[in-house]
Symmetry: C2
Subunit: 212 residues, 2 copies
């Protein structure tokens, strides 16, 4: 039963993947717990990225338009998807949103998933890269406790490093835990609030964009 | 399909509820995002509560025994349930764990759910009270973005108030958002790290225990 749902999603995800490839769109799927800083990071990234590529955003939340409004204020195309009781975005939602926005060829598409470190890991959206964000206030044991997400991710961003002096969090241990689950992970440490470390992540992403 | 799963769970949850009632067990279901401080709060609560009642704990996580080991160090009975890719505890898991532990009559049973602000809201475990924890590092908009959890909860605990000076978080606004979703919520503000505010929550819970 669960398998049927996942298989149906996988088919639509591959359709999305073909669509993105045909248009030269790089799609990133941002994943984290609620409040780890997905939207704040996008707010820091977009002004730096729109100089090199058009940027579009799909926002996922159970309720409210708040994140879409924050992105809209930056002047880039955005669609909010509200999932109601649903715990993740699925490939069909992305398919609809991409058509609705008519995402420009050669653009970067940022998909902010529902805040949930568990379920969204199982649902391929057709994205090129899964970017998991964990923050320094969540405890450095989280990659071991929620391994599926870290196993599926391509990039792991440790956010809120400005709070390190105030919380019992060992960044090196967290990285080691994440790498134990998935040694292919690209690892970045930054603060979306202060901007520290954002440049390194942007340099990496711009190089990745050049390959599309 | 989803309805069948939920209905099957509801039946077993009622069985659990009958079992708890027959033994005078007060069962609390602790719910939050990963890293909001569920285990840390239990570590603060248990030494204060075991003076008045036997305490047992069921720990839920996708992987690892880490939380069970932290609770075991306090010397109370604990069972760890690992859900693998599963995103929530269900009533059948609780049923098995309660029999395995042979939870004492008249005791307080603390169930720490998988860290997830979304899915566990839909799965009744037979508990008397759902306690949702949100921390000051997660953003004060979360009750509006993830309303199902706050709608289902009986108690909301704002944790990590010791970090308020370092984060952009409006506790009064968060409470207002939570109350807008569910005006029956009991509201507490505390720090599991420093112990500030824990006493008020404990006084309330002890009064609730006297009614069982």
């Amino acid at each position: 039963m669960e398998q049927d749902v996942l298989m149906q999603n996988n088919l639509l995800a591959e359709r999305n993947r073909g669509y993105f490839e045909a248009r030269g769109i790089l799609a990133l799927n941002f994943l984290s717990s609620p409040g780890s800083g997905k939207t704040s990071l996008l707010e820091k990234m977009i002004p730096l990225l729109r100089e090199v590529r058009p940027v579009s955003v799909i926002e996922g939340d159970q309720q409210t338009m708040q994140d879409a409004e924050r992105i809209d204020a930056l002047g880039v195309p955005v669609v909010q998807v509200n999932t109601g009781t649903g715990c993740h975005l699925d490939a069909a939602m992305i398919n609809r949103a991409v058509r609705e926005m008519d995402v420009a060829s050669g653009s970067l598409l940022c998909i902010e998933n529902v805040g949930n470190l568990v379920c969204p890991a199982l649902f391929d959206l057709g994205e090129a890269l899964k970017v998991v964000i964990i923050s320094t206030t969540e405890g450095d044991d989280k990659p071991l406790k929620y391994p599926t997400m870290f196993h599926e991710a391509d990039v792991c961003i440790l956010n809120k490093i400005d709070l390190l002096p105030y919380v019992p969090f060992d960044a090196a241990a967290c990285r080691e835990h994440a790498m134990r689950v998935n040694h292919h992970l690209e690892w970045f440490e930054l603060s979306a609030a202060t901007g520290e470390g954002v440049e390194e992540w942007m340099e990496w992403l711009k190089r990745r964009l050049e390959q599309v």
